[in-house]
Every structure is written in structure tokens, then in C-alpha cells.
Symmetry: D2
Subunit: 408 residues, 4 copies
């Protein structure tokens, strides 16, 4: 067997373990020092964290400190949602120069245009186990009868959680296998761990009572951490829209473009998306999402599914522009995960979104932020400004005059 010769000495290669998993300040320091020796590196910045190391428990293992990501602020962003109402300043953690400035430009434009209308359409999270049967007949009967057992299955699932509620089940038969999408309301938490646990228990009941020969807790259909077409249907995260009627005169003043240019860009760019066969159409949702997610302690691994969505630019009979974004699968949380401590908690506080009851508000602010980013990015393509913007704000380049002039 490859590597057998080194078995005896292999223990010395393993990352050292400490009592209670080593979340205390001293264990973290010892582990970091071990790593410095092992890799001949100096880890001063990593060790210069302000978050109490014990608070990292539940978020990280083998901790050696923190990664620091530059944090900027963009705003004001006026949001007219059902949950978020008023002017917001949005924290963005990124190393992509010009990104904060670009979002800021869009926010100022949208605020001047009267703000961004936002609406939430669906608020769920999903786990989709696959069940196995002996033949297509058994699979058919299971799929057909499943919903008649909804209350029993819900009882099992909800027995494991105080906050999660099982809303609906969707069976999807393929040959002799049946995927069942379990859709839950998870409150202000991301809730993936919560609903995996709940679903796992329900699966056990299904195997015991409904004839399934076995199951896998994930079938792939849930699209957790992946971009998939099925996400447009909603049910994996929050579906949210944001839109603003942008008067032509403001477009001209702030981004030197006319509505017809946005519509033409949309059409041309759509043709590129189609030929690339993208999942959804947008300019750069992932940029704004990544920056807000890192800042606010969200699950950055969800970026591929959360960034699936559509940006739309429509000319109006009045000669203005209606700009909107649709995010069918946005996972954000204000409790649990990385939201409860350190800089993440502070960033949520900047938005007035700390803790329980605030997830819908955060959802609407995210959507409005992305709309700002899309408008600004589109204008940059229309005006050929991308190169200039990166020349001005990109790493180690001289600034070219007062940036505020840009959106005067």
C-alpha cells in the first residue's frame, strides 16, 4: 500500500489536537506556531485577531486565527421594501479594486431616483433526499401516496427542531428512484443543518413505514452550493425582486447613458449568455454577494446558487428605464452560522439587521444592493469605462482626479 512505510511516523504529520478542540487563546497560538515551524512561515497578521478565539467554536476547527479582508462602505441606498425601509450603508469586504466605488455610484443613482422597491416572494430552504425502490411500480405508488402521509412526515421532521417548519413535499419519480424535495421555513437562520437533521429523521420514518429500500440524504436536486436551472422555480432560499424606475435625465446625469443603450446592451449580452448557456442572466451578482456575504458572516459557499438570477432593463413608454433584479435562490441569515460575533455582527448592525426577525430585511437590502451594482456595471460597459475605472481605483495605480466628480 502506498505510504505504508511512513505509517509509524505519520502521527507527527497530523495537525496537533488540544483539549476541548483547542479553541482557547493559548491552544490557537500553539497550533499557529506549530504551523509556522512546519511550513517555515511567519503568521503575524493571522495571529492579530480581535475576535475572542473561544467564540470561533462551531464555526471553524484547527483554528490558527482569522483572515482579514479589506472592508469598505457604500451608500446611501434608499430601499422601499416591506421589511427594509430607509437609507442604508452597505458593508462590502473585497479585494477587487473599484468594486465599492461602482456599487456606490449605482446606489446614489437609485436613491436619487426615489429608491428601490423590493419584494420577497418565497422564503424557504430545501433538502432533497433520494429514495430507492425495487421497480417502477413501487416508485410510482410511493410518489402517488406520499402526500397522504404529510402530517406524519412533518411530525417526524419537526420533532428535531424548534424553529424549522416543514411546508411541503415534492416527489419526483425517476425510474425506480424517487427524489423528495422537503421545503421548510427556517426563520432567520440559514437552517441547512437544522433541516438536514429534520429530514434525516423523516427519511428514517419513510424507510420504516413506506417501503423505501434506502435513501441518500442529498440527491443533488437540492442544488446546495451549485448553480442549477431548477433554482428559478424558487424554494431553495428566499426569492426576492428589486426594481426602480430610473428617469432618463438621472441616467444621463449620473452615468451618461440613455435607456435605449441599456436595452440594447441587455439584448446583446443575453445572446452571449445563451450561447454560453449560463444559468441565469446578470452582470456580476456574484461580486456584490461575495462582498456582502464575507462582511456579514453569511455562507460564502452558497454563492453559486445564490448568484443565479436575472437582471432586466426595460424601456418604458415614458422614455425612462425600468431596471430590476430577480434572485430566486438567495440564502441569507441573521442568526446562526457566522452571524453572531466579531466583524460579522458589526456589519449586520450597520444595516440594522442583527439577530432574530431581521433576515427578510437583510434579504431586501441585498437585492437592492445588487440592482445598484448591475446598473453601474452596465453603464460602465456602455461607456467603455471599465478600463478607466480599474486604472483609477485598481491596485497601485495613481488616482485621476476627484472620484466624486463621477456622480455629481
Amino acid at each position: 500500500m502506498a505510504g505504508t512505510a511512513s505509517v509509524d511516523t505519520f502521527a507527527s504529520e497530523l495537525v496537533p489536537r488540544f483539549a476541548d478542540q483547542g479553541y482557547d487563546q493559548e491552544s490557537v497560538a500553539l497550533r499557529r506556531e506549530w504551523l509556522e515551524r512546519k511550513t517555515e512561515s511567519r503568521l503575524n497578521h493571522i495571529g492579530s485577531f480581535s475576535v475572542p478565539s473561544e467564540e470561533m467554536k462551531g464555526n471553524i476547527e484547527n483554528s490558527v486565527g482569522t483572515a482579514q479582508v479589506p472592508l469598505g462602505i457604500a451608500g446611501p441606498l434608499l430601499v422601499n421594501g416591506l421589511h427594509a425601509r430607509g437609507r442604508f450603508y452597505v458593508p462590502l469586504a473585497t479585494t477587487e479594486g473599484a468594486l465599492v466605488r461602482s456599487y456606490e455610484r449605482g446606489m446614489v443613482l437609485l436613491t436619487r431616483a426615489g429608491g428601490v422597491d423590493t419584494r420577497i416572494h418565497v422564503d424557504e430552504n430545501c433538502v432533497a433526499p433520494a429514495f430507492f425502490f425495487g421497480d417502477v411500480g413501487e416508485a410510482h405508488d410511493f410518489g402517488n401516496n406520499l402526500l397522504s402521509h404529510f402530517s406524519e412526515i412533518r411530525s417526524e421532521a419537526e420533532a428535531t427542531t424548534k424553529h424549522g417548519r416543514l411546508l411541503r413535499l415534492e416527489p419526483l419519480v425517476e425510474g425506480r428512484n424517487v427524489i423528495v424535495a422537503f421545503h421548510y421555513f427556517t426563520g432567520d437562520a440559514h437552517g441547512m443543518n437544522m433541516i438536514v437533521k429534520a429530514t434525516d429523521r423523516a427519511c428514517g420514518w419513510i424507510v420504516a413505514n413506506l417501503g423505501a429500500k434506502g435513501y441518500h440524504i442529498f440527491s443533488g436536486f437540492e442544488s446546495e452550493k451549485r448553480a442549477s436551472a431548477v433554482l428559478f422555480a424558487g424554494g431553495k432560499g428566499k426569492k426576492v425582486t428589486a426594481g426602480t424606475l430610473v428617469p432618463a435625465e438621472l441616467l444621463k446625469a449620473y452615468v451618461r447613458a440613455v435607456p435605449a443603450q441599456f436595452v440594447s446592451l441587455w439584448q446583446h449580452t443575453m445572446l452571449g449568455h445563451m450561447q454560453a448557456h449560463s444559468v441565469g442572466y446578470n452582470g456580476h451578482f456574484a461580486n456584490g454577494l461575495a462582498a456582502m456575504f464575507i462582511a456579514c458572516g453569511q455562507d460564502v459557499g452558497n454563492l453559486p446558487n445564490c448568484s443565479v438570477g436575472i437582471t432586466n432593463f426595460e424601456a418604458t413608454p415614458s422614455g425612462d428605464l425600468y431596471a430590476s433584479v430577480t434572485l430566486p435562490s438567495l440564502n441569507v441569515a441573521t442568526v446562526g452560522g457566522g452571524t453572531g460575533s466579531g466583524t460579522a455582527r458589526e456589519c449586520l448592525a450597520i444595516l440594522g439587521c442583527e439577530g432574530p426577525t431581521q433576515a427578510p430585511k437583510l434579504t431586501e437590502i441585498v437585492a437592492a444592493t445588487l440592482l445598484a451594482g448591475e446598473l453601474s456595471f452596465a453603464a460602465a460597459i456602455i461607456n467603455g469605462e471599465l478600463v478607466m475605472a480599474h486604472e483609477t481605483y485598481g491596485r497601485n495605480r495613481p488616482a485621476a482626479g476627484d472620484p466624486r466628480a463621477q456622480y455629481k
Copy 2:
């Protein structure tokens, strides 16, 4: 016009500007204090950064400090690549409990199995402008003749950059529009800004000399920041594979599973991916990528395209498991962007990947890391361990015994 009434007082809402864009320590502090007042929040952790604020120039605007993300270490990971060779300890910045432990388990298993073979197949980056013509005849002739002007176009493009090299052009005609994919070698940099600038200049030449009526620098076809089917063809980032023959006895010892279970899981999960119509098949590439990208100063906004890829589990005639991952579109860099300072630079140092010439090495380590994560995740599904793992390592839950027992 909406909001007109407040124009006079609107200036007070804008984020304050400082000399030289305010990267000095004092300006950052003043901006943060302004934000605290404006949002009635306390931003102590955000202000407790160790990175010199002046070094953030080029990576962020309107800086108020840094976001701190918990950083753990996983390893050892033995890599047998053409660029990465030896045992590595991989820095992962995340707030998803159990993630580091899960990757570590896979790494130990792979190292014991003799390590991970890695290979790079393509090393490019791409910008794909769209050009507009009067009719399908003009578009056809442009597409047909473009390659005969390659040397002139390359001269224009490369006139703007010391490091980028234009490798090839691919015209894609749709009606009377033509997308042209410009593929570059960008050395150890991500290079997007570099090649946008180069392409922009080449586009100007094309409009002046080859009859195009105009262009948009992005057509959508480049799939920057988006998941797209076209990424499988390679040419947007680095295409890399990683694979290991895992002996059945090691699988049993480390993850209590047999090869046939991995193959069966693969088949069932593929069926879920297909019905969701995912772009690519993998368990959770995005988790490992997000954690490494945040740690190592990579562009996290690229996660949707970088996480497109395939995990494969094949049974071998010898009764063992061949596990592999294929990443057709991985963008990583060791110079430029966020790689040059602070914790990012230290994380790259941990991997021996600081600075020039190291991007291929980093590429191979990333691929090997993802393979570890896929194996461990698959085993967790097979064994029903997901709930247990999160119970053990998830936020604010009691630990259940010595975790090392898990892979002893």
C-alpha cells in the same frame, strides 16, 4: 422627479471623501466614526485590523477596516503534481462548522493512499466582446476573415501589457452579431483587468479596420462571475484534474465505506443533478473554494464559474476506488489582486505559493484539496454522518469525544 426635494441636503448623506481617497489610518478611522454615528453602531472589531491601511489601496474604496473570518488549517495533503509536490497544510477561512474537519479527514485518507496526482491542462483567461454588423453577410465575412488579422490584433492587445499574451481568437457568429473570445495567458495574475484593457484596445482597432459598427467589451459569453455550460470547454481560467486510487482497505479504515457505495452514490446523485439541471456535478466544490479563496486573497466573486466541475468515483477491476475531480475553469493567482499583503500573503506562504511563478502550484493544491472534500462529503452521505458531524462540530454544540478517533 422622485427625491428632488432633498437634493440640497443630499450631499450630507454621501460617504465622506478624504485626500488621496483616504487610505491613511486617520482617514479610515474618521470614516468609520462617521459610519458609527450614521448607523448608530459600534465597530470595534472592524477597526482592529493589523494590515496597514495604505496597503488596501487598489483593493477597496471607502475603507473602514477589515472583516475577520475564522481561519483553520487542514492537512497533511500529499500532492504529486507537476508543480506542487510534497505535503501541504491548507488554510481555510470559513464560518461553516465541521468544514475544516471534513476536509482534513479526506486529506489524511488521500495522503495515506499515496497522495493526489494533479495535472493542469489549460492555463488561460478570456474576455469575449460582441461586435455589431449591418447584416448576416457582413457578420459572416468578418467571422471568416478575422483569423487572418490575428497578428495585428495581437500587437494591439499586447501593446497594453507586459505580462499578458494573446493566444487565440474564437469568433462566434449569431445573426448579424459576432462574439469574439479573446484567450490570453496571464502568468501568475488573475489578469482580468489586464486583459480587459488589452482587449478594449484591440476592439478599437477592429472597429477602425474591419468594419464592425461597434462593440460591447463583455458579451456575457466570457462567463466571468457566472456558471455556464461553456466553461467545460476550457479557456476561462485554469483547467486542472486531480485523482487518486484509494485502496478499499483504506476506505474502510478511514471512512467506513466500500467502493461500490461511492459508485452507487455517484449514480443516484447524478440523477438529481440532471433533473435539477446543474452546471456540472460535484458535492460541494464551492465550500472548499470559498474557504481557500477568502484565506488566500483570491477573487471570491469568481466562485460561480470556478466551482463548475465534475467529481467522479469509479470502481476499479482491483476492487478499489478511483476518485477524481475536474475543474475546467479555475481562476487563481499568486500576484496582483488581494494576494500581496496581510493575511492573504501569509496564507500563500503557508502553501509555499507566494508571488511570481507560483500560480500553477496553487492551482494543483486547490484541486487536491477539493478532491479531499468530495471524498469526505460522499462518505458522510453514505454513512449518514452529516447530522452527527454538525452536532459535533457545529456552532454551540457539545463535542462528542476525541475527534481524532474519527480517522485513527
Copy 3:
């Protein structure tokens, strides 16, 4: 204006018109003669049709006769469905040599294995108009309230049809637009004209009563005549599965292969499908569907949506093969369209599927036929027989011995 000069003489270029649209024998002959003169061609075969020309009314305009497509028969195919039960001989109209023989081989194998289990899961058809609103708020409210008007909308829709029943509405909000999928039961008819008419009337009511500013009867979301990922969810046509446990000894005897070869082929081929980003996985559903559709008077233009589906080959613990197909979006009819006269009616009679109440039976036979084709095609790839098969049966090639030997 281009062509203006010829306006006066343009009428002579138009296809001639006859009384009552010219479906009588004489008018058809005159039109054909006109065409022969105009194009200097001889159309003897086109004119040698047996179907009364008057019966073509409603199926064709400007009739000049019929196209004749070679028709072969494959069977026996034993089907154990809920609607189709017994041995069937399937009519296949095609010009692809070896196709009938290949399906026949699969049918004989499946019949010997005890027949094909078939089940129908969904039986609907769908039209998905798009409605336009002024902003995201209006679109949200419409989407939210739509279902409370279900009974009024159903009344409007069903006022236009005796057979169609509106089953459910699914609103899908994007920005300030809302697609609404109208799902109907259409009995034994394809029903597209029926439900377009019904939906059109309901749309009028919605515009008049629910604030929509306008609508397009097709939004593209219905996927009529196109392959789309959304089809896997069911609701556009009949969702049907077919499966058989094929004993290893029969596989060996009939197609000289073992179950593991089918599983391995499935895995390898899936990887190709993924990298091509196909919509669904199957070997050649379209071949069997095209041949049955032409024979049985089905709407051949539906092939792109109907051929979306999954073939699955699973090894069983007993060492045998479970083979299945899943067709989520199969549109077939036994009344209306081209089903009522001529060779189509005779082909339906061969299957015992003429007229009302027979569409579910036809659905199950189609699914079982496709399973036969998939097994046979897979075996041909495994055994490298494709070349040989076309050598033997392909156009203008000498036959190589008694073909029955192939499955004796």
C-alpha cells in the same frame, strides 16, 4: 423598397388558391401541376396518395399530396402497464436503416424478461403566458393574489372547451413581469390549440380584472417545441416511466453483455452528457419517438420537448440489470391532430389505440418502446456493433446471413 418593382407581377408567384381552400381531388391535382411547371419537377409519388384529399382539411394547407415514409414493424413487446397490457407490435416510420431491427432486438429481450412495467405520473398540458405590470410591487401583489381568483379564471378558461379542464396555475414573478403556467387536463387530445384558446380568454379576464397591463400568450416558459430543463418537473405532457429487471443470463444470450458493462457505459456516457450540457440523458429517444410519431400521426414538432428524459441502468444485488426510462414531457394523442385518418389511424389500430380513452395506453407503449431502443443501442455500443449493424442493414449494403440469428 426592395422588390417594389415587381409588385405588379408578384401575384403570379403566389401559390394558387382554389374554392374552399382547394381540398378536393381536382384542386390538389391542379396545384400540384402548377408546382411541377413552376419548379420543372415530376411529382408522381407525391400524387399517388390513398388518403381522401378532403380528409386532409385541418391538417395541411396548399396540399399537393402526401409524403410517403417507409413503415416497418417491431415486436413483440410485452407491456405490463396500468393501461397497456399484453403483447404489442409497434409501427415505426423511418429511413434510418437498422433502426427497426435494433428496437426489435430490445423488444424481444424485454418480452423474454417478463415484459416492461410502465406507469404514468402526470397527465397535463401547459400554456404559460407572460403578464406585464408597472413595477415589482404590482407584480408581487398579482403573483400573491392570483390563486385566490382560481375559480373565476377556471370558469373563463373552461367556457371555451368541452374537454379541457384547468387544473392549476403557477405564477412565476420576474422583476415586474409575471409568467403564469396554466396546467390543463386535455383528455386524449394533444390539446394545444384547445388550451391556447382557453388561456387566451382567461388572459383577457385577467387584464380586465387583475391589473395586468398586457400579456403575451406564449412566454417561452411553456417549452412547446423546445428542449428545456423545466420539463423535468412535469406538467408539459405526460410523465411516464418504464422499467424491467433484465436477468444477467438473458442479457448474455440476447446482447452478449453483462450488467456491469451497462453501468460502466452509463457512467462514462453521463460524463459526456454533462460536459455537453445536454438536457437529459438518453441514448436515442428521438429515434424511436420520431418513428412512432410519424407513423401514428403525432405532432412531430414536439420531438425536442418529448425526447427530454433519462435512461438508467442499475446493477442489482442479484447480479442482474434494472433498466428504466423516464419521460417527463411526452405529448401523445389518440384523437385530434393527425390521428384520425389514413395510415395514422391504421397505425393506432395496430396498437389498439384508436380514438377516445386510448391516450394513456399509447403513452405506456411509447415508453416501453423507448426502453427497448435504449437497451439495444447500449448493447451495440458495448459490443462495438454499431458499425456492423449499419453494414448489415444500412442502405445499399449486402445482407450478412439470417438476421434472426442475432437474437436466437
Copy 4:
């Protein structure tokens, strides 16, 4: 074993075999009579074929006659291609009422607008076998070195064919497997059988000489008979575009619509396509393709791949409409397959496309025909005419006045 009991009597269930596979008139009649008895049906129309039964050899097995499909004619269609030039009348075999009339309307409009410009961009066909290796290193080396063996591989492949030419190879590495796309020029034939045979021989050489452990002749990547995103890249069939500048006044006169309505419809419908995640955007390519394919003896099973493509409606600065279609993957042939006899040959003659050298001409006529269908269909949606059209022309409905009035 299921069905074992009936083995002895099973032979009587098999479709009877005759000498030389029974293509003579008498054998076909005997087989049809056997089928009539077996299924208690009367097959008079099926038996009333005019094509000599012996000519069906190579296109069908177990022949019982022909299926007759109503055939109509639409035109004139003025085409300004590089291969097709002049006015054409297009044969369409369909049972979908109103289809011929709808295409005819579009053709007359396009002819009046000066005709359709058509261009062919790629003319290839493709087989994509998958090769298997021991590990990612072997797969990498194979992929890396393959092109250096191009001339040897081409020699092997072309040794089997007089007409096919191997143009290029594209390796696509996944883990330890490598798909290789073999792209051929196949002249005027569809050529699938030809290039499968050629590729099969080349695969044998590759296994013998380049270290592959085995191969499957189809990997799924070739997308034969399936809709796939990869088809947009071209190389599977002929890539062709067709476009016309349609003056606003003609649009108004012929279809009562203005250019802005087409652009708005395009935008709204695109949003539906995206949310359905269609492969490609078009109104109903499949309708026109199915009707031409059945008429002209093309391979109808290719409809799913051939119908992938894009329709585009662009407003021009002059206030007119530029309408175009792009078909990246159109397989048509004028020799081989079903093209050489009976009604198919006559339909090709109507178009002046019989036999060698005519495939490019047929390609351009198909593209122009689809453009006509798209314009007419879009106008019908804009004007709410779909219901009316089917009322007028659909099966068994009274005609409403002179149809010519429609485009006078």
C-alpha cells in the same frame, strides 16, 4: 426466469422473416397480412404505397408499406445565399393545421422585403468517443500528445471512406477519461454511419498505439439526437444564419405590427426561455424542421439537435426590423439516407436540391424557411392571432373568408 414457460411457443410471436429480408412486394404484403391477423386491423392505406418496396432496403426493416403524411407547399421564398439563389417553393409534410399557411405568410413578407440573406459558417459532423486510462496522469499525457498523431489517426479514419475527411480532433480530459471529438467533412451526406465507421477504426489504432485501455464509440458529448448547450459552438452539422431587414411599412402591411413590438416580444419571451432554461431561443424551429425533414427524407431523429438555435429581432436606427435566425447544428443531406427515392426525392427536386453538391443549397433554404416561420409566429403572438388561425385552418373547422386576404 420470467417468461420461460412460453419459450417453446415464442417463435410464433416473432415478426416473420422472408428471403433476402423480404423487401420484395410479395413479402411485404405477406408481412402486412400477418400483422393484420395478429392485431385484428385493416391496413389498406399502409399497403397503398407507390414507392417500389425494393427501394426501401437500407432504410427500413420488417417493412409493411409506408406512412402517408399530408404534404403542402409554401412560397415563394426569395433566398439570397451563396448556394441558394432565387425563388423557392418549400414542401412541408405535417398534420398541424395552419402551419403551412403561417410559413407562407412569412415567406411572402420576406420575399417582398427583398429576400433572405443566408450564410453557412461551419460544415462538419462529429463523433466523440471516450477513452479510458489508468489515472489522471495518463489521461493528461494522452490529451497533451494526441494532436501530434493527427496524421496517423486521419489515415486510419479515412481508410474506411471515400467521401469523409477528418478535419480536426478535440480532446476533452475529465479525471482519467478523455473524450475526443472527431470532426469530419461529410460532403452532401448526413454521414453519421460513415464517420462512426471511420472513427471506430481510428479508435482501434489509438488503443493499440497510444495507451488507452478501451473506448466507447459514443460518449454522449457528440449530442447526436439530443439538445445540448455544446451545439452552439458549432461542429455538429452545418452552422447557418439567415437574416432580412424588414421595412416597417411591410411589417405593417403584412402582419399589422411595428418593429418595437417584435423587440418587446423578444425580450419578454427570452425571460421565459431563461427561467425554463431552454437550450436556445426560438419560437418554433421544430415545426418547420419537422415538416421539411419528413418531406425531404432527412433524419427526423436529429430534430432535437437541429432545432437548437436562436431567433433575433433587432430594431434598426432607420426604424425597421432586422430579423435573423442562427442554426448552429443543422444536419441535412441530399445524398444517402432517405433522400434517394420516392416522395423525398421529388421534394428535393421541387427545391432543385437533388443529389450531390446540393446540401449547402438545401441548408440555406431550410434556414430561410425557418426565418419565415419565426416572423409569422411572432406576429401571431403580437396580434393575438393564434387562436383565430387555428379556428380558421385547424381540423374540421369552417374557413372564414378568403385566406389570401391575410397578406394582400
